[in-house]
Subunit: 327 residues, 2 copies
Amino acid sequence: METEREQTVGDLSERALLARILAAVGDASQAEVGPGDDAAVLAVPDGRVVLTTDTLVHGPDFRLAWSTGYDLGVKAAAVNLADVAAMGARPTALLVALALPDALPVAFVDELARGLRAACDRLAPGCAIEGGDLTASDTLTIAVTAVGVLDGLAPVLRSGARPGDVVAVVGELGAAARGLAILFDRFRTPDGTPLAVDAALLDATERADLDAQLRPNPPIGLGPVAARAGASALMDVSDGLLLDATRMAEASHVTIAFDGPLDDHALRGGEDHALLACFPPTVRIPDGFVRLGVVAGPGDAAVTVGGIPASGRGGWDPYRDWDAHRG
Amino acid sequence: METEREQTVGDLSERALLARILAAVGDASQAEVGPGDDAAVLAVPDGRVVLTTDTLVHGPDFRLAWSTGYDLGVKAAAVNLADVAAMGARPTALLVALALPDALPVAFVDELARGLRAACDRLAPGCAIEGGDLTASDTLTIAVTAVGVLDGLAPVLRSGARPGDVVAVVGELGAAARGLAILFDRFRTPDGTPLAVDAALLDATERADLDAQLRPNPPIGLGPVAARAGASALMDVSDGLLLDATRMAEASHVTIAFDGPLDDHALRGGEDHALLACFPPTVRIPDGFVRLGVVAGPGDAAVTVGGIPASGRGGWDPYRDWDAHRG
């Protein structure tokens, strides 16, 4: 359809590109000092700030054949917001460092910025992009830092689970991994090159799984809800329920006993960005959380499923599992 | 000298690599929650936190032929600490997101971590690496977020300069640009491929210039000193004094009048990470700052040097000036 060459990042100065991005992100700053000075200045009324950083890299973390700029903006925001929520905190700001190839279309960057903003608006109202950085790179890289506040509550750690607690989850388990399997199995050439997704080939369930992979929708608001309810432990399930529950059990020196059965995608799939929580038995479990088991004293296995020890191995290791060169 | 193949990033799991990095960084955490949970939790007693992010990318920002891992750790920390200092704030934490090629030697990553820690210890005592992220990438990328506190002071913006203020700088101007010129002119093949630096070919001044480029030593502690003294405006000089002074003058709606003369490297060189400050005439300028001129009311030029209008153009545009493909 295009008759003229598409404008790319390499056609613009840093200043012009930054102006485009700030326009697409929109003026939602809540900060004392927002974008434009050497650093942002944010209010933290209760004197404790929550900070996390997570990066998406072309190749290991996404493929341009499969993700739009908008998708990537949503995902880069969502995975970081989830880590803030997993402390029981309310996200207030993102800093976004973009490393962009010169050949990337400017329209793609606009969409990325729109996706970042849309994810904040939907998942964490009041959270805005308050700063960032632009540089050139051969590899499209989106490094986000998310900032949160605890509103006077104590942070909820992964080390706080105690025997007798109820184990519960909110968010979908396994869907993102099923979505990734759809991409790997059905939208690659035989030599592994990613192919554009044809949604007409997918049924509604498959489309939902693909959405969970490409545009995650984690239950950010329920992190602070769990904290306020009295959760003893809380963490983001991003590397598979089994591996993350093993980490929580080890940090807490307990056994996490899932009632089971749980299917393999739910146990071992990655990128769920669900919240795994433990609640003391006296606590009323907040709406949305689903009970999956109980916490027992330390035993031979960190995690059991239906009474059977389950190894955390086989969980998602983002460093190894999505190979940059295999497609 | 090596008889066995060097261990590379691709040989280790994420967990093993992270353990190596945390060991090299050392246990200097001052945080309520440091590395190991979903996010860090930091104390901000006065209720305002300062945040900035800056990324170093292989190609546009550094070359492995010229920089050691240690150099890169120092530089990645220093450029971010400088942005915190430029608000008048005291750095308290770094988050470090590393995107690493599989072929990168593990020893290089150890050195990078040591460099990050050394820069914190030297430039901003009390500042520690409190979190981060690891991912694989074809392009070595170091995305740092720096966190600071204001200790009850107001942040010092670039927009606060007023007519009658004294303009002053602390830190070396031009040395980093001269160091880059040494690398480009003397340590590349005719086709532009970077060559390892042979320090024996350099005199003491040249070695100092190279140090300023590879291992910057910005005056971090003087940011809070300037704020406490009553600076009206403050900013990091990273894109050349002329371009950054132009930004300060435009943000403040004033003219910055340098007494002059100033040489071209000082005016247009990049990556100084000096601090440009304005002080009301009643303020005693803190030790270390050197008076360079005065602030006048708005005029035809944002900046003058020796009374002559000077264009900010020609300053360092990191997005364009160090081309990833030209070497």
